[in-house]
Protein backbone atom coordinates (compact mmCIF):
# COMPACT_ATOMS: atom_id res chain seq x y z
CA UNK A 1 0.00 0.00 0.00
CA UNK A 2 2.94 2.38 -0.42
CA UNK A 3 1.72 4.42 -3.32
CA UNK A 4 -1.90 4.13 -2.33
CA UNK A 5 -4.36 6.75 -3.46
CA UNK A 6 -6.57 8.72 -1.16
CA UNK A 7 -9.61 6.84 0.10
CA UNK A 8 -12.85 8.11 1.66
CA UNK A 9 -11.62 6.60 4.92
CA UNK A 10 -8.87 9.22 4.98
CA UNK A 11 -11.55 11.79 5.70
CA UNK A 12 -12.50 9.82 8.80
CA UNK A 13 -8.84 9.78 9.81
CA UNK A 14 -8.59 13.53 9.33
CA UNK A 15 -11.75 14.06 11.36
CA UNK A 16 -10.32 11.93 14.15
CA UNK A 17 -7.07 13.87 14.11
CA UNK A 18 -9.01 17.11 14.16
CA UNK A 19 -11.01 15.80 17.12
CA UNK A 20 -7.86 14.96 19.07
CA UNK A 21 -6.35 18.38 18.31
CA UNK A 22 -9.49 20.26 19.33
CA UNK A 23 -10.02 18.06 22.38
CA UNK A 24 -6.50 18.39 23.65
CA UNK A 25 -6.47 22.10 22.92
CA UNK A 26 -9.72 22.60 24.86
CA UNK A 27 -8.54 20.50 27.77
CA UNK A 28 -5.14 22.17 28.05
CA UNK A 29 -6.70 25.62 27.69
CA UNK A 30 -9.11 25.03 30.57
CA UNK A 31 -6.47 23.45 32.80
CA UNK A 32 -3.88 26.02 31.78
CA UNK A 33 -6.13 28.98 32.55
CA UNK A 34 -7.04 27.45 35.90
CA UNK A 35 -3.39 27.00 36.82
CA UNK A 36 -2.66 30.52 35.62
CA UNK A 37 -5.46 31.84 37.86
CA UNK A 38 -3.92 30.01 40.84
CA UNK A 39 -0.49 31.38 39.95
CA UNK A 40 -2.00 34.85 39.76
CA UNK A 41 -3.58 34.48 43.21
CA UNK A 42 -0.28 33.36 44.70
CA UNK A 43 1.38 36.33 43.10
CA UNK A 44 -1.39 38.73 44.14
CA UNK A 45 -1.20 37.67 47.79
CA UNK A 46 2.60 37.67 47.62
CA UNK A 47 2.90 34.15 49.08
CA UNK A 48 6.59 33.83 49.98
CA UNK A 49 8.77 31.17 48.31
CA UNK A 50 5.88 29.77 46.27
CA UNK A 51 5.72 33.03 44.42
CA UNK A 52 9.43 32.88 43.47
CA UNK A 53 9.04 29.26 42.39
CA UNK A 54 6.10 30.12 40.16
CA UNK A 55 7.89 33.03 38.55
CA UNK A 56 10.99 30.90 37.87
CA UNK A 57 9.01 27.99 36.44
CA UNK A 58 6.94 30.22 34.19
CA UNK A 59 10.05 32.02 32.95
CA UNK A 60 11.66 28.66 32.13
CA UNK A 61 8.53 27.54 30.28
CA UNK A 62 8.27 30.76 28.31
CA UNK A 63 11.93 30.75 27.35
CA UNK A 64 12.48 27.20 26.18
CA UNK A 65 11.13 25.31 23.16
CA UNK A 66 7.86 23.45 23.70
CA UNK A 67 9.39 20.49 21.91
CA UNK A 68 12.10 20.23 24.55
CA UNK A 69 9.48 20.51 27.30
CA UNK A 70 7.56 17.67 25.67
CA UNK A 71 10.69 15.50 25.52
CA UNK A 72 11.49 16.27 29.13
CA UNK A 73 8.04 15.23 30.29
CA UNK A 74 7.52 12.28 27.97
CA UNK A 75 11.00 10.72 27.98
CA UNK A 76 12.61 12.35 31.01
CA UNK A 77 10.04 12.06 33.79
CA UNK A 78 9.34 8.30 33.35
CA UNK A 79 13.05 7.49 33.21
CA UNK A 80 13.93 9.54 36.25
CA UNK A 81 10.95 8.86 38.51
CA UNK A 82 10.11 5.40 37.17
CA UNK A 83 6.53 6.27 36.41
CA UNK A 84 4.32 5.47 33.43
CA UNK A 85 3.56 8.21 30.95
CA UNK A 86 1.35 7.96 27.89
CA UNK A 87 1.86 10.39 25.02
CA UNK A 88 -1.55 11.93 25.68
CA UNK A 89 -0.87 12.56 29.38
CA UNK A 90 2.58 13.98 28.64
CA UNK A 91 1.12 16.24 25.95
CA UNK A 92 -1.74 17.44 28.16
CA UNK A 93 0.55 18.15 31.08
CA UNK A 94 3.12 20.02 29.01
CA UNK A 95 0.76 22.16 26.97
CA UNK A 96 -1.35 22.99 30.03
CA UNK A 97 1.69 24.24 31.93
CA UNK A 98 2.96 26.09 28.90
CA UNK A 99 -0.37 27.85 28.42
CA UNK A 100 -0.45 28.60 32.14
CA UNK A 101 2.97 30.27 32.04
CA UNK A 102 1.97 32.68 29.30
CA UNK A 103 -1.55 33.29 30.62
CA UNK A 104 -0.10 34.05 34.06
CA UNK A 105 1.91 36.90 32.61
CA UNK A 106 -1.13 38.24 30.79
CA UNK A 107 -3.31 38.10 33.91
CA UNK A 108 -0.66 39.71 36.02
CA UNK A 109 -0.14 42.64 33.69
CA UNK A 110 -3.91 43.00 33.34
CA UNK A 111 -4.21 43.36 37.09
CA UNK A 112 -1.18 45.66 37.31
CA UNK A 113 -2.72 47.92 34.69
CA UNK A 114 -5.97 48.34 36.60
CA UNK A 115 -4.45 48.28 40.07
CA UNK A 116 -2.21 51.23 39.49
CA UNK A 117 -5.08 53.59 38.79
CA UNK A 118 -7.84 52.18 40.95
CA UNK A 119 -6.71 50.48 44.12
CA UNK A 120 -5.62 53.65 45.81
CA UNK A 121 -9.18 54.90 45.49
CA UNK A 122 -10.83 51.66 46.57
CA UNK A 123 -8.65 51.23 49.68
CA UNK A 124 -9.95 54.46 51.08
CA UNK A 125 -13.32 52.83 51.59
CA UNK A 126 -11.87 49.99 53.67
CA UNK A 127 -12.28 47.13 51.21
CA UNK A 128 -10.30 43.98 51.84
CA UNK A 129 -7.70 42.85 49.35
CA UNK A 130 -10.06 40.07 48.22
CA UNK A 131 -12.95 42.48 47.71
CA UNK A 132 -10.73 44.75 45.69
CA UNK A 133 -9.64 41.79 43.55
CA UNK A 134 -13.13 40.42 43.09
CA UNK A 135 -15.11 43.58 42.45
CA UNK A 136 -12.63 46.12 41.18
CA UNK A 137 -9.69 44.38 39.56
CA UNK A 138 -11.07 41.21 38.03
CA UNK A 139 -13.87 42.64 35.88
CA UNK A 140 -11.58 45.21 34.33
CA UNK A 141 -8.47 43.06 34.20
CA UNK A 142 -10.54 40.53 32.27
CA UNK A 143 -11.31 43.18 29.69
CA UNK A 144 -7.64 44.14 29.53
CA UNK A 145 -6.52 40.51 29.24
CA UNK A 146 -8.95 39.09 26.75
CA UNK A 147 -7.23 40.53 23.66
CA UNK A 148 -3.75 39.20 24.48
CA UNK A 149 -5.34 35.97 25.73
CA UNK A 150 -7.01 35.30 22.39
CA UNK A 151 -3.69 35.97 20.68
CA UNK A 152 -2.04 33.49 23.03
CA UNK A 153 -4.63 30.78 22.45
CA UNK A 154 -4.43 31.11 18.67
CA UNK A 155 -0.70 30.57 19.10
CA UNK A 156 -1.15 27.65 21.53
CA UNK A 157 -3.42 25.97 18.98
CA UNK A 158 -0.46 25.93 16.56
CA UNK A 159 1.77 24.69 19.36
CA UNK A 160 -0.40 21.59 19.90
CA UNK A 161 0.86 20.33 16.52
CA UNK A 162 4.14 19.41 18.28
CA UNK A 163 2.50 16.64 20.29
CA UNK A 164 2.56 14.58 17.10
CA UNK A 165 6.31 14.27 17.61
CA UNK A 166 5.84 12.26 20.82
CA UNK A 167 3.23 10.08 19.16
CA UNK A 168 -0.17 11.60 19.87
CA UNK A 169 -2.50 10.98 16.93
CA UNK A 170 -3.52 14.56 16.38
CA UNK A 171 -4.15 16.35 13.09
CA UNK A 172 -0.45 16.68 12.29
CA UNK A 173 0.24 13.01 13.02
CA UNK A 174 -2.58 12.03 10.66
CA UNK A 175 -0.96 14.35 8.14
CA UNK A 176 2.29 12.43 8.60
CA UNK A 177 0.56 9.10 8.04
CA UNK A 178 -1.25 10.25 4.92
CA UNK A 179 1.89 11.91 3.63
CA UNK A 180 3.95 8.74 3.93
CA UNK A 181 1.22 6.58 2.44
CA UNK A 182 0.12 8.66 -0.53
CA UNK A 183 3.36 10.54 -1.23
CA UNK A 184 1.24 13.58 -2.02
CA UNK A 185 2.86 16.08 0.37
CA UNK A 186 1.42 19.21 -1.23
CA UNK A 187 -2.16 18.01 -1.01
CA UNK A 188 -1.84 16.50 2.45
CA UNK A 189 -0.06 19.43 4.12
CA UNK A 190 -2.23 22.01 2.38
CA UNK A 191 -5.38 20.31 3.68
CA UNK A 192 -3.91 19.93 7.17
CA UNK A 193 -2.71 23.55 7.12
CA UNK A 194 -6.12 24.79 6.01
CA UNK A 195 -7.82 22.92 8.85
CA UNK A 196 -5.51 24.55 11.38
CA UNK A 197 -6.07 27.90 9.68
CA UNK A 198 -9.85 27.52 9.88
CA UNK A 199 -9.64 26.60 13.57
CA UNK A 200 -7.44 29.61 14.27
CA UNK A 201 -9.83 31.96 12.50
CA UNK A 202 -12.80 30.49 14.33
CA UNK A 203 -11.03 30.93 17.64
CA UNK A 204 -10.06 34.51 16.82
CA UNK A 205 -13.58 35.49 15.85
CA UNK A 206 -15.12 33.94 18.96
CA UNK A 207 -12.48 35.75 21.00
CA UNK A 208 -13.24 39.06 19.31
CA UNK A 209 -16.91 38.64 20.12
CA UNK A 210 -16.23 37.92 23.79
CA UNK A 211 -13.85 40.86 23.97
CA UNK A 212 -16.50 43.17 22.55
CA UNK A 213 -19.02 42.02 25.12
CA UNK A 214 -16.61 42.31 28.05
CA UNK A 215 -15.54 45.78 27.05
CA UNK A 216 -19.14 46.87 26.86
CA UNK A 217 -19.84 45.60 30.34
CA UNK A 218 -16.86 47.47 31.71
CA UNK A 219 -18.06 50.71 30.20
CA UNK A 220 -21.46 50.11 31.75
CA UNK A 221 -19.98 49.46 35.20
CA UNK A 222 -17.99 52.63 35.00
CA UNK A 223 -21.08 54.83 34.89
Amino acid sequence: MRYADFTPYDLVLLAQGLGVTVGLFTLTTLVGLLIAALFTLVDYYRVPVLRQVIVTVSEALKNSPVLVQLFLVFFGLPAFFHINMTPFVAASLTISLNTAAFAFVIFRSGIDAVEAEQVAAAKVYGHSRWQILRFVLLPQAAAFSIGPLVGLLVNQLQVTSLISVIGVFDLTKIGNILNLRTLEPFIVWTVVGLLYYALAKLLASVGARIEKRLRRSVVWEGI
Binding site: A60, N63, P65, L72, L162, V165, T172, G193, Y197
Partner: protein, 224 residues
Protein backbone atom coordinates in the same frame (compact mmCIF):
# COMPACT_ATOMS: atom_id res chain seq x y z
CA UNK B 1 25.98 15.53 40.03
CA UNK B 2 29.54 14.37 39.49
CA UNK B 3 28.17 11.17 38.01
CA UNK B 4 26.07 13.20 35.57
CA UNK B 5 29.11 15.19 34.50
CA UNK B 6 31.10 12.04 33.85
CA UNK B 7 28.25 10.65 31.77
CA UNK B 8 27.63 13.78 29.74
CA UNK B 9 31.18 15.02 29.24
CA UNK B 10 32.13 12.79 26.29
CA UNK B 11 29.05 14.06 24.44
CA UNK B 12 29.65 17.75 24.96
CA UNK B 13 31.68 18.36 21.77
CA UNK B 14 28.85 16.76 19.81
CA UNK B 15 26.28 18.97 21.50
CA UNK B 16 28.48 21.99 20.98
CA UNK B 17 28.30 21.24 17.26
CA UNK B 18 24.53 21.16 17.59
CA UNK B 19 24.56 24.44 19.44
CA UNK B 20 26.70 26.07 16.76
CA UNK B 21 24.39 24.73 14.06
CA UNK B 22 21.42 26.25 15.90
CA UNK B 23 23.20 29.60 16.08
CA UNK B 24 24.15 29.35 12.39
CA UNK B 25 20.64 28.38 11.25
CA UNK B 26 19.03 31.12 13.37
CA UNK B 27 21.45 33.76 12.13
CA UNK B 28 20.70 32.91 8.50
CA UNK B 29 16.96 32.67 9.14
CA UNK B 30 16.85 35.97 11.03
CA UNK B 31 18.60 37.74 8.16
CA UNK B 32 16.14 36.12 5.76
CA UNK B 33 13.16 36.99 7.94
CA UNK B 34 14.15 40.65 8.22
CA UNK B 35 14.61 40.93 4.45
CA UNK B 36 11.31 39.17 3.71
CA UNK B 37 9.53 41.09 6.45
CA UNK B 38 10.77 44.47 5.18
CA UNK B 39 9.71 43.57 1.65
CA UNK B 40 6.27 42.38 2.73
CA UNK B 41 5.71 45.39 4.98
CA UNK B 42 6.46 47.74 2.11
CA UNK B 43 4.25 45.73 -0.26
CA UNK B 44 1.43 46.19 2.22
CA UNK B 45 1.61 49.94 1.68
CA UNK B 46 1.44 49.48 -2.10
CA UNK B 47 -1.19 51.30 -4.12
CA UNK B 48 -2.14 48.08 -5.89
CA UNK B 49 -4.90 46.18 -4.11
CA UNK B 50 -3.75 42.78 -5.35
CA UNK B 51 -0.17 43.34 -4.19
CA UNK B 52 -1.48 44.50 -0.81
CA UNK B 53 -3.75 41.47 -0.61
CA UNK B 54 -0.95 39.02 -1.38
CA UNK B 55 1.32 40.57 1.25
CA UNK B 56 -1.47 40.44 3.81
CA UNK B 57 -2.35 36.83 2.94
CA UNK B 58 1.30 35.88 3.32
CA UNK B 59 1.52 37.01 6.90
CA UNK B 60 -2.01 35.78 7.69
CA UNK B 61 -1.44 32.25 6.39
CA UNK B 62 2.00 31.69 7.87
CA UNK B 63 1.02 33.14 11.24
CA UNK B 64 -2.08 31.00 11.53
CA UNK B 65 -0.71 27.57 10.65
CA UNK B 66 1.74 25.47 12.67
CA UNK B 67 5.40 25.75 11.77
CA UNK B 68 5.82 21.98 11.73
CA UNK B 69 3.13 21.70 9.05
CA UNK B 70 4.87 24.37 6.98
CA UNK B 71 8.18 22.60 7.48
CA UNK B 72 6.80 19.25 6.30
CA UNK B 73 5.10 20.98 3.37
CA UNK B 74 8.48 22.19 2.14
CA UNK B 75 10.57 19.21 3.26
CA UNK B 76 8.40 16.58 1.60
CA UNK B 77 6.97 18.82 -1.10
CA UNK B 78 10.03 20.44 -2.67
CA UNK B 79 11.58 17.16 -3.95
CA UNK B 80 8.21 16.32 -5.54
CA UNK B 81 8.58 19.31 -7.83
CA UNK B 82 12.22 18.54 -8.55
CA UNK B 83 13.81 20.89 -6.05
CA UNK B 84 16.47 18.94 -4.20
CA UNK B 85 17.98 21.05 -1.47
CA UNK B 86 19.26 19.64 1.78
CA UNK B 87 17.26 19.41 4.98
CA UNK B 88 19.29 22.25 6.50
CA UNK B 89 18.56 24.59 3.60
CA UNK B 90 14.88 23.69 3.70
CA UNK B 91 14.77 24.32 7.43
CA UNK B 92 16.45 27.71 7.16
CA UNK B 93 14.10 28.74 4.35
CA UNK B 94 11.00 27.65 6.25
CA UNK B 95 12.19 29.45 9.37
CA UNK B 96 12.89 32.61 7.36
CA UNK B 97 9.44 32.47 5.84
CA UNK B 98 7.51 32.20 9.09
CA UNK B 99 9.83 34.73 10.72
CA UNK B 100 9.23 37.09 7.80
CA UNK B 101 5.49 36.91 8.41
CA UNK B 102 5.93 38.07 12.00
CA UNK B 103 8.61 40.63 11.17
CA UNK B 104 6.42 42.20 8.50
CA UNK B 105 3.67 42.76 11.08
CA UNK B 106 6.13 44.31 13.53
CA UNK B 107 7.53 46.69 10.92
CA UNK B 108 4.08 47.59 9.71
CA UNK B 109 2.73 48.49 13.12
CA UNK B 110 5.93 50.37 13.91
CA UNK B 111 5.42 52.51 10.81
CA UNK B 112 1.73 53.04 11.48
CA UNK B 113 2.50 54.16 15.02
CA UNK B 114 4.65 57.10 13.89
CA UNK B 115 2.94 60.34 14.90
CA UNK B 116 1.09 61.86 11.92
CA UNK B 117 1.89 65.33 13.25
CA UNK B 118 5.61 64.69 12.96
CA UNK B 119 5.16 63.47 9.39
CA UNK B 120 3.18 66.61 8.63
CA UNK B 121 5.89 68.79 10.12
CA UNK B 122 8.34 67.11 7.77
CA UNK B 123 6.00 67.61 4.83
CA UNK B 124 5.51 71.31 5.41
CA UNK B 125 9.24 71.91 5.52
CA UNK B 126 9.38 70.60 1.99
CA UNK B 127 11.07 67.25 2.56
CA UNK B 128 10.36 64.73 -0.18
CA UNK B 129 8.37 61.59 0.44
CA UNK B 130 11.50 59.50 0.20
CA UNK B 131 13.45 61.63 2.66
CA UNK B 132 10.50 61.64 5.05
CA UNK B 133 10.31 57.86 4.88
CA UNK B 134 14.01 57.13 5.21
CA UNK B 135 15.04 59.86 7.64
CA UNK B 136 11.95 60.38 9.78
CA UNK B 137 9.45 57.51 9.62
CA UNK B 138 11.85 54.57 9.40
CA UNK B 139 14.24 55.65 12.17
CA UNK B 140 11.35 56.37 14.55
CA UNK B 141 9.60 53.10 13.68
CA UNK B 142 12.87 51.22 14.16
CA UNK B 143 13.23 52.58 17.67
CA UNK B 144 9.75 51.63 18.79
CA UNK B 145 10.02 48.20 17.13
CA UNK B 146 13.10 46.91 18.93
CA UNK B 147 11.21 45.06 21.66
CA UNK B 148 8.46 43.45 19.55
CA UNK B 149 11.13 42.58 16.99
CA UNK B 150 13.18 41.07 19.80
CA UNK B 151 10.39 38.76 20.87
CA UNK B 152 9.93 37.63 17.26
CA UNK B 153 13.63 36.78 17.07
CA UNK B 154 13.57 34.94 20.40
CA UNK B 155 10.57 33.00 19.16
CA UNK B 156 12.48 32.06 16.03
CA UNK B 157 15.30 30.64 18.16
CA UNK B 158 12.82 28.54 20.15
CA UNK B 159 11.04 27.48 16.97
CA UNK B 160 14.34 26.36 15.44
CA UNK B 161 14.26 23.32 17.76
CA UNK B 162 11.52 21.93 15.46
CA UNK B 163 14.15 21.63 12.71
CA UNK B 164 15.25 18.47 14.55
CA UNK B 165 12.12 16.76 13.19
CA UNK B 166 13.51 16.82 9.65
CA UNK B 167 16.80 15.14 10.58
CA UNK B 168 18.77 18.30 11.21
CA UNK B 169 21.17 17.77 14.09
CA UNK B 170 20.96 21.19 15.62
CA UNK B 171 20.96 21.55 19.39
CA UNK B 172 17.73 19.63 20.02
CA UNK B 173 18.67 17.01 17.44
CA UNK B 174 22.02 16.27 19.08
CA UNK B 175 20.42 16.25 22.54
CA UNK B 176 17.92 13.65 21.35
CA UNK B 177 20.79 11.40 20.29
CA UNK B 178 22.73 11.96 23.51
CA UNK B 179 19.59 11.30 25.59
CA UNK B 180 19.06 7.94 23.97
CA UNK B 181 22.69 6.83 24.02
CA UNK B 182 23.26 7.77 27.68
CA UNK B 183 19.84 6.60 28.90
CA UNK B 184 19.62 9.85 30.84
CA UNK B 185 16.79 11.69 29.06
CA UNK B 186 15.67 13.66 32.13
CA UNK B 187 19.10 15.12 32.81
CA UNK B 188 19.88 15.78 29.16
CA UNK B 189 16.59 17.52 28.39
CA UNK B 190 16.78 19.53 31.59
CA UNK B 191 20.23 20.74 30.61
CA UNK B 192 18.89 21.44 27.14
CA UNK B 193 16.03 23.47 28.55
CA UNK B 194 18.45 25.53 30.62
CA UNK B 195 20.68 26.01 27.56
CA UNK B 196 17.81 27.40 25.49
CA UNK B 197 16.65 29.59 28.37
CA UNK B 198 20.19 30.99 28.72
CA UNK B 199 20.40 31.58 25.00
CA UNK B 200 17.13 33.51 24.90
CA UNK B 201 18.07 35.34 28.08
CA UNK B 202 21.33 36.47 26.50
CA UNK B 203 19.39 37.52 23.42
CA UNK B 204 16.93 39.51 25.52
CA UNK B 205 19.81 41.30 27.26
CA UNK B 206 21.18 42.21 23.86
CA UNK B 207 17.75 43.44 22.75
CA UNK B 208 17.41 45.56 25.87
CA UNK B 209 20.80 47.11 25.22
CA UNK B 210 19.90 47.91 21.64
CA UNK B 211 16.59 49.32 22.79
CA UNK B 212 18.26 51.56 25.32
CA UNK B 213 20.95 52.72 22.89
CA UNK B 214 18.45 53.57 20.18
CA UNK B 215 15.92 55.14 22.48
CA UNK B 216 18.19 57.36 24.49
CA UNK B 217 16.75 60.23 22.52
CA UNK B 218 13.17 59.21 22.81
CA UNK B 219 10.55 59.03 25.45
CA UNK B 220 8.90 55.69 24.88
CA UNK B 221 6.51 55.98 27.76
CA UNK B 222 8.77 54.54 30.42
CA UNK B 223 8.54 50.89 29.37
CA UNK B 224 10.75 48.86 31.66
Amino acid sequence: MNQLWVTLRPHLPFMLDGFLLTVFACTLAIIGAVLIGALMASLRTSGNRIVRGVAFAYSDVFRNTPFIVQLFFFFYGLPEIGIYIGAFETGVIALSIIGGAFVSDVIRSGILAVDQGVIEAAKVSGLSRWTIFTKIVLPIALRTSVRPMGSVLINMVLTSSILSTITINELTGTAKIVASTTFKPFEVYLVLLVLYASLTYALSLLINTVHRRLNRAMDTGGAA
